[in-house]
């Protein structure tokens, strides 16, 4: 049986062959940048949501589910793709008396939630500002159970943050809630909404 042995020497690459490779690598770097830009522009795209009656306007993530029909909030947006908990951003307005302070509003919220949310407890409270107005920030946590019993999943720990700012006889409460392990990763969405929040 004849065995073929490759004895040819490897010829050096030509100018065209070398530069084809270099350009392909440069192109790959460029396409990577374009791909990341497309991803970022899609994931971080926002739409304006406003309530003229209460005078509140904010930029919220596009493609999130919007709800403006709730009794407890002016508007709420939720990420439909988030698992296991739908990341939530919401703005609500409470009518308060002339002597109200942000601390009193947070106390009221804590009392209401203690009876509604399982194992609700406050983690921290700190001073903050919203467009130079004094505000109060409160971080809290509670557990949420899967409502569908057939899924048989463990309870989730939900972490939330409220920012309260007073505007005349109104207290504007901006809220962000997320499953505890993803809370810090998506906190930028809350900060983005606060930066674009207008109370007029």
């Amino acid at each position: 049986m004849t065995e073929l042995i490759d004895v040819r020497e490897r010829a050096p690459l030509t100018f065209t062959q070398r530069w084809n490779t270099y350009l392909a690598i440069i192109l790959a770097a460029g396409v990577m940048v374009v791909g990341l830009t497309l991803r970022d522009s899609s994931l971080n795209a926002t739409v304006t949501l406003e309530n003229l009656e209460s005078g509140v306007r904010a930029q919220v993530p596009a493609n999130w589910l919007q709800d403006t029909t709730g009794d407890e909030y002016l508007f709420r947006v939720r990420d439909p793709n988030a698992l296991p908990f739908k990341t939530t951003l919401q703005v609500s307005v409470l009518t308060v008396g002339p002597d109200a302070t942000p601390d009193l509003v947070l106390n009221l919220l804590t009392m209401q939630r203690s009876s509604r949310f399982a194992t609700y407890h406050e983690i921290s409270r700190s001073d903050d500002t919203l467009r130079d107005d004094p505000a109060k920030r409160m971080v809290y946590a509670y557990t949420e159970f899967e409502r569908n019993p057939s899924l048989q999943s463990l309870p989730m720990v939900i972490e939330g943050v409220d920012l309260v700012v007073l505007q005349g006889t109104q207290a504007v409460v901006v809220t962000y809630r997320e499953e505890q392990s993803a809370f810090d990763d998506h906190l930028y969405r809350f900060d983005n909404m606060l930066r674009t929040l207008e109370i007029f």
Binding site: T16, N20, L27, A28, G35, R39, N81
Partner: protein, 301 residues
């Protein structure tokens, strides 16, 4: 005096022995067998209910995920070993395809581009360009890198060699994605089979574009942006495939509601790979004929 005519039998024409494995024949057999296997599984589970439609049997899913690789090993690789002049390094290229898919492509898709978070809800052109500039280009560039830095140019004697090596790299690449679906998702057996067929067919089809452009870079005299153009074309085809797949597998609106049409997705995937095979085979044959006419013989560099 009479002359007896002497009858001479025409000299028997010796048939030229083709010393290489016939790449297209084995590739067609593999994709047809994969299609038949997936169709059989779909029929058994969705129509005759022999296998439960909700079955998530891990061993069965793993078997389906490994089927394209098994077919390639049994048909292409075994055929190559039996050919008088086998192409060396085919198995190594396949393993390299698996390694770059597992080490680079999958982390890029899952941790960097995360297309499932933003592309499924985009419009048709958004999906096409989104997939093109992210996972589409990344996959084709990685296959190019595998071929470019392992067997190109010294193993590319004919254009068909490029096809054989690209199919090996693509099957390795697709296998890692198939295994990921089987091992790490909650998909049913039927859904896994449909996904395996879709992934394998698309990678086999699009990988041929890179192969042809690499072959021409060695055999022909292409311009300096030849490979870049080839990669962009392959990525665009990838984007178009994903774009159309999204449209195909979602059935139309009706009074009964909306639903998925998995068989349409399978038909699209097979139609796509069949079209790619036929187109690239035609282009390679035409290029070989032109080279033969120019050089006066078969091109063996």
């Amino acid at each position: 005096m009479s002359f007896e005519p002497i009858l001479l039998a025409p000299e028997a024409e010796l048939e030229e022995i083709y010393p290489y494995r016939r790449v297209w024949r084995t590739a067609w057999i593999e994709i047809t067998l994969l299609l038949i296997a997936v169709l059989a599984l779909y029929t058994l589970s969705s129509i005759f209910d022999v296998i439960s439609a909700a079955s998530r049997e891990p061993a069965l899913k793993l078997g389906i995920a490994g089927l394209p690789l098994a077919l390639w090993l049994l048909i292409s690789y075994r055929g190559e070993r039996r050919a008088p002049q086998p192409r060396p390094g085919l198995l190594g290229v396949m393993v390299l395809g698996m390694l770059v898919a597992n080490g680079v492509a999958i982390p890029l898709e899952e941790r960097v581009f995360v297309p499932e978070r933003w592309l499924p809800t985009a419009g048709f052109f958004g999906r096409v360009f989104g997939y093109m500039f992210t996972i589409g280009f990344a996959a084709e560039f990685l296959k190019f890198a595998v071929l470019r830095y392992s067997v190109w140019p010294h193993r590319f004697q004919r254009r068909l060699d490029a096809i054989a090596y690209a199919l090996a790299a693509s099957i390795g690449f697709a296998t890692m994605f198939n295994l990921r679906v089987a091992l790490y998702t909650d998909a049913t057996v039927t859904a896994t089979a449909l996904r395996v067929a879709s992934t394998t067919f698309s990678h086999l089809g699009i990988g041929l574009v890179v192969a042809y452009f690499l072959a021409e870079l060695h055999i022909g005299r292409p311009p300096v942006f030849w490979i870049s153009a080839g990669l962009l074309l392959a990525a665009l085809l990838s984007g178009l495939y994903y774009g159309f797949r999204g449209t195909a597998i979602v059935s139309g609106l009706s009074v009964e509601g909306t639903g998925s049409a998995p068989i349409r997705g399978l038909a699209l995937a097979f139609g796509f790979v069949a079209l790619m095979f036929a187109s690239i085979a035609f282009i390679v044959q035409s290029a070989d004929s032109r080279t033969e006419a120019a050089t006066g013989g078969r091109q063996t560099l």
